[in-house]
């Protein structure tokens, strides 16, 4: 059993402990302790029933902790030592855990941290490494989050949309350190999709698969960003892309469109083009129209303007861009790109240099600086 398979069991096991009377925070701690023991013991002595093993060990850890706690406070031990039978479906428990960790009373950062630990089964250290913060900071964030939801009933129905937002945040964090958060987000979204029949869960899963499938081509060997037009499409993971398209088609067939399905449809159209030149920009613009209608998001409008530039020519793209707030992130970069397409390298070079100064990430800044340098070099020739 590999690590992700082991971690797949975490939410079910927490659910069992909660049903037996443990509070969520203690159950979650106990299961983490059991995981540590599993990693230590299983290589030499693999259990026949991994989930049963985890439940037994986690329950024992919970009882030990509860006893230590109660004796410290000189209170009577009231928790039964004998485990109760499991009355409900594991699926319901897991689903409730997703809702609890994405509870609206939590900040996005807290939801993300709690989801990765309680649903994802990652250790605090792994989560801290992934987000480049000290372990003590992440430990505090998680325990505060647990306190915040301590009054929430475990069986309270939740909103899938909040869970999706959390999973999307995790996915967009991408890859830093030893933990591939994008892969982790896909694993969790896959698990959620297997439990629900919500079109947007499928839409988000499709979007993630389609993006992830193109990831190998998105950065060069030296870590630089490779724009879509220049990507080596032979590096795309066709298996992930095919799965993403299949998941998306099944979702779209149910005729309840949402923003993740629309975004996935755009990603699918890019993935469908064997060469950049044969991209179906007209359809992509249509999907951006849907996305703008669904979300009214300025970012969607900005991306739409770039797509319009490809479908109807750079002048049309610039006209669409002119209607948007110039302070939008990546507005200047989009303008630079469209001016270059419009055969105006002088303006484009100036805008690329401007955009580099306001870039939000180092890879983007380096990319935009390179674009400016490339055009300036052409202009000197």
């Amino acid at each position: 059993m590999n690590e992700p398979q082991l971690r797949d069991l975490v939410p079910e096991v927490i659910g069992v402990l909660v049903r037996r009377g443990a509070d969520f925070a203690s159950a979650e701690d106990a299961v983490q302790d059991a995981l540590v023991e599993a990693v230590r013991v299983w290589p030499d002595d693999p259990p026949r029933d991994p989930k049963g093993w985890l439940v037994t060990v986690a329950w024992r850890k919970f009882l030990d902790a509860a006893r230590a706690d109660t004796s410290r406070r000189r209170r009577e031990v009231r928790i039964e030592d004998e485990p109760l039978p499991e009355p409900v479906e594991a699926v319901d428990d897991t689903l409730r855990l997703y809702f609890l960790c994405a509870h609206p009373s939590l900040t996005p950062a807290s939801s993300v941290a709690l989801t990765l630990r309680a649903v994802g089964g990652l250790t605090t250290r792994q989560i801290a490494q992934a987000y480049l913060v000290p372990e003590a900071t992440m430990a505090q964030r998680i325990s505060r989050a647990k306190r915040t939801v301590s009054g929430v009933r475990f069986n309270q129905p939740g909103d899938v949309a909040t869970v999706l937002r959390v999973l999307y945040l995790v996915f967009n964090e991408g890859y830093s350190g030893n933990i591939d958060l994008a892969a982790e987000a896909i694993r969790l979204t896959r698990q959620l999709a297997a439990m629900t029949h919500h079109e947007e869960v499928a839409g988000l899963l499709a979007l993630m698969l389609l993006h992830h499938g193109r990831r190998p081509a998105r950065t060069g060997p030296d870590g630089r960003l490779v724009p879509l037009a220049e990507q080596d499409r032979g590096l795309w993971d066709t298996r992930l892309i095919a799965e993403g398209i299949e998941v998306l088609q099944a979702a779209l067939a149910r005729d309840r469109l949402g923003e993740f399905q629309a975004q996935a449809a755009i990603a699918a159209l890019h993935a469908d083009a064997r060469r950049f030149e044969v991209t179906d920009w007209v359809q992509i613009v249509e999907w951006y129209d849907e996305l703008v209608r669904l979300t009214d998001s300025p970012v969607a409008r900005l991306n739409r303007a770039v797509a319009v530039g490809e479908a109807d020519g750079p002048r049309a793209g610039l006209a669409a861009l002119a209607e948007l707030d110039p302070a939008l992130p990546r507005h200047t970069a989009a303008a630079a790109f469209l001016h270059e397409r419009d055969a105006d390298p002088v303006t484009a070079a100036r805008l690329y240099a401007d955009a580099a100064r306001s870039a939000a990430s180092l890879p983007e800044r380096d990319h935009l600086t390179r674009q400016a340098a490339r055009l300036n070099a052409q202009l000197r020739r």
Partner: protein
């Protein structure tokens, strides 16, 4: 071992030893060579066990201060055109001041136009220790 900050400035410090054009005026190959150098520098520090942290800062931001009970903090800036603007830093943990100076000297030799060193001024600052070092 002692910790030092190698501070990079967008602007500020002594007068530039060599006046070079902004990076968007370099050739793409020169830009690539510079970025490769910076990446290799951090990787090398990591290999020698001397790297603690490396961060880059955006040029925007603002000065902020308390403005009295019940009032929101006052902000001033951004001062993107200010004379002294920090661009980023390396925190290193090294044997001596001399080693810190040696490393700053290497970083300052990052290649610029024509592949020649840019002779950039870097500020090297020792950290104050947490623990008193004197004997009782």
């Amino acid at each position: 071992m002692a910790k030092y900050l190698l501070l990079k400035h967008y602007r500020g410090g002594p007068a530039p030893a060599v006046d070079f054009a902004p990076m968007d005026q370099w050739t793409p190959d020169e830009v690539d060579a510079h970025m490769r150098f910076m990446r290799d520098f951090a990787a090398r520090l990591e290999e020698t066990g001397e790297l603690v942290d490396a961060q880059a800062l955006r040029p925007d931001g603002a000065f902020v201060r308390y403005d009295g009970e019940g009032r929101p903090p006052v902000t001033d800036g951004p001062f993107i055109e200010t004379k002294d603007l920090i661009a980023g830093w390396y925190v290193i943990d090294v044997e001596s001041w001399d080693r810190a100076v040696q490393l700053a000297g290497e970083l300052s030799a990052a290649p610029g136009p024509g592949g020649k060193p840019i002779y950039e001024w870097l500020e090297v600052r020792p950290f104050l220790n947490d623990t008193p070092t004197g004997t009782e």
